[in-house]
């Protein structure tokens, strides 16, 4: 039945309120970053971004971190989750709990816990981004686990893996040629969220004295808040574009049953 106009207006206005509530910070940032002095407007802050050498260094560090985290995700986290899902279904729940843990541990606590190891590492080994990325790999677990788990439940991965086995595929071929391509959407979501998280993280890198993107922005912000906000907005837009690349969840499973979907 046709909805009355009143109902439609009511519904769309709710959506509008929710959206604008979320868009508020972005608009405020845009406003702030284009202010020059008390009442004039200009893009000087945006132009100034490129004249900050420390900032470029921070960006490079953060991108290095993101690359390492991606590698850890693809070659450690994804195979582990898939393998538990397929072969050790009883460990699914413990794994889910373990993966949610970092969410409950505030950054400062994490730092207290690992700082000794880090000190030891920085003395005896190196202070490369690799060490920080190990902490990040832990931080991304709560988000990536859900994406992967949802993707694994959406298709009958078990049957696909068995089909590949009967056709002669080894375990690693089954994993990399069949299972991972099948849950590509979930892996992509996990990747994008991880990148967003690594590029946005401040507390831990600051506490462990790493000069990442956000740390540098904050330093600049202490000198010139306008530039800091402009850079933040730029990074936000970059991450937004990343998020747009993220595939949507599709429901493969149901197609065969939809006999008369019309």
């Amino acid at each position: 039945m046709k909805r009355s106009l009143g109902q439609r207006i009511w519904r769309w206005s709710i959506l509008l309120v929710v959206t604008s509530y979320l868009a508020l910070p972005i608009v405020a940032m845009l406003d702030f970053s284009t202010k020059v002095g008390r009442s004039k407007r200009g893009l000087y802050a945006w132009k100034a971004i490129f004249s900050q050498p420390e900032l470029v260094g921070g960006i490079v560090t953060s991108l290095e971190l993101a690359a390492i985290v991606i590698a850890l995700l693809l070659f450690l986290v994804v195979p582990t989750v898939v393998w538990v899902h397929l072969k050790l279904p009883r460990l699914r729940r413990p794994l889910e709990l373990i993966c949610l843990l970092p969410l409950a541990i505030p950054g400062i606590v994490l730092v207290v816990g690992v700082s000794k190891i880090y000190m030891w590492l920085s003395i005896h080994w190196t202070e490369s981004p690799l060490t920080l990325s190990a902490v990040y790999a832990m931080l991304i677990l709560p988000y990536t686990y859900r994406s992967l788990s949802a993707a694994l439940f959406a298709v009958d991965v078990h049957t696909l893996a068995e089909a590949a086995r009967t056709l002669g595929a080894s375990t690693s071929r089954t994993l990399f040629q069949i299972v991972i391509p099948t849950i590509k959407a979930g892996v992509m979501s996990a990747l994008v969220i991880s990148i967003a998280l690594v590029l946005g993280e401040y507390t831990i890198s600051s506490l462990l004295n790493y000069k990442t993107f956000q740390v540098e922005i904050n330093l600049i912000g202490q000198n010139d808040g306008t530039i800091a906000v402009a850079v933040s907005l730029a990074s936000l837009i970059f991450v937004l574009l990343l998020l747009l690349l993220m595939p949507t969840a599709k429901r493969h499973g149901k197609a065969l049953l939809d006999v008369d979907a019309e």
Partner: protein, 347 residues
């Protein structure tokens, strides 16, 4: 054609307290299509999965072509398997799905040979125009055809079909059933077909094995299984039956005024319940008849009538569809039997 291709020797498997297989022994001849039929939980799927190497066993031995493969890994067995549904790789086209097994072969098959082979197989299953389609672009029936082509591509020692039709529409199901049989006869691959649908099993197989609680109850050619069941379970599971009380003496039973021979395994004396097929019951309109039609449904090629006998027993009879207009609700009818033998179980 008559050498033994597959031998399952006393295989057993328990899942916790549940015995899925309780010592199953089965032989499949070269080129034969055997169907395993049974209700949920009878162990038929476990047996098929054990043969595929996807299920380990507690005991027993599996031989294929005389070679013991009980402990061989699934990816070295060379079995072609078609699953219930959704088993096509979603990121590959129909052709890529069919070629996947060939790409994995130990002695490489050239890209050209693979393409030729996959084209042949897609033509065999009637989908040569769908080579480039992805699974989500195909109907359920088409997907199962591709799955069949994919399983046949590796020239399997045994073709394993695990309820391949159960997720499909009624019409597609019948069509694909006939097609699977045609292709199997053409290719000549030894085949094990697992199903819970008795018509499917009877219609497709050289021999049908009925399973219950992890063991084989009876294995025979379809007509023998249907006409000469050796147990009440088989009689009732394969086809419809009407339980009608009668008195057994020696090897005949007296029911509905007829003396009918009893099948081996039946009760041998006293009262018993004869299991009579609907099509063995002849219902004729007769004003002096003591039975009454309750309702008749016209099912196309046949007509099924529910009839109340004089003693209150309600039976189902099947007759030619032309009878539907005669056997209306309330009609008085005479009921006679037309069957050489029936199975009689104890009351």
């Amino acid at each position: 054609m008559s050498s033994v291709a597959v031998q399952l020797n006393d295989i057993a498997k328990s899942f916790g307290p549940v015995k899925a297989l309780a010592g199953l022994t089965l032989e499949i001849k070269e080129g034969e299509l055997v169907a395993l039929l049974g209700p949920s939980g009878c162990g038929k799927t476990t047996a098929l999965r054990a043969l595929a190497g996807l299920q380990d066993l507690d005991r027993g031995q599996i031989l294929v072509g005389g070679k013991d493969i009980t402990f061989q890994a699934a990816n070295h067995r060379g079995m072609g398997m078609v699953f219930q549904a959704y088993s096509l790789f979603p990121h590959m086209s129909a052709q890529e799905n069919v070629e996947y097994g060939l790409k994995l072969k130990a002695h490489k098959v050239s890209a050209e040979d693979r393409r030729k082979k996959s084209s042949e197989l897609l033509e065999l299953v009637g989908l040569s125009t769908h080579a480039g389609h992805y699974p989500h672009q195909m109907s359920g029936g088409q997907q199962q055809r591709v799955a069949l082509a994919r399983a046949l591509a590796i020239e399997p020692k045994v073709l394993l079909l695990d309820e391949p039709l159960s997720a499909l529409d009624a019409k597609v199901r019948i069509q694909l059933r006939d097609e699977i049989r045609r292709i199997q006869l053409e290719v000549g691959t030894t085949t094990l077909f697992v199903t819970h649908d008795q018509e499917e099993a009877l219609g497709i197989a050289d021999r049908v094995g009925v399973m219950r609680d992890g063991v084989l109850q009876q294995i025979a050619v379809p007509q023998e299984l249907y006409d000469r069941p050796t147990s009440a379970f088989v009689a009732e599971f394969v086809g419809l039956t009407n339980p009608i009380r009668g008195t057994v003496s020696g090897s005949t039973v007296s029911i509905l005024g007829s003396q009918i021979a009893t099948l081996p395994g039946s009760v041998t004396s006293g009262e018993g319940t004869a299991l009579v097929r609907p099509e063995s019951i002849r219902v004729e309109a007769d004003p002096s008849g003591s039975a009454k039609v309750v309702t008749s449904s016209f099912l196309g090629s046949v007509c099924r009538s529910i009839v109340d006998l004089a003693d209150g027993t309600r039976i189902t009879a099947q007759s030619a569809s032309s009878q539907a207009s005669v056997l209306r609700a309330g009609t008085s009818v005479r009921v006679t039997l037309d069957t050489p033998a029936v199975f009689v179980k104890s009351l």
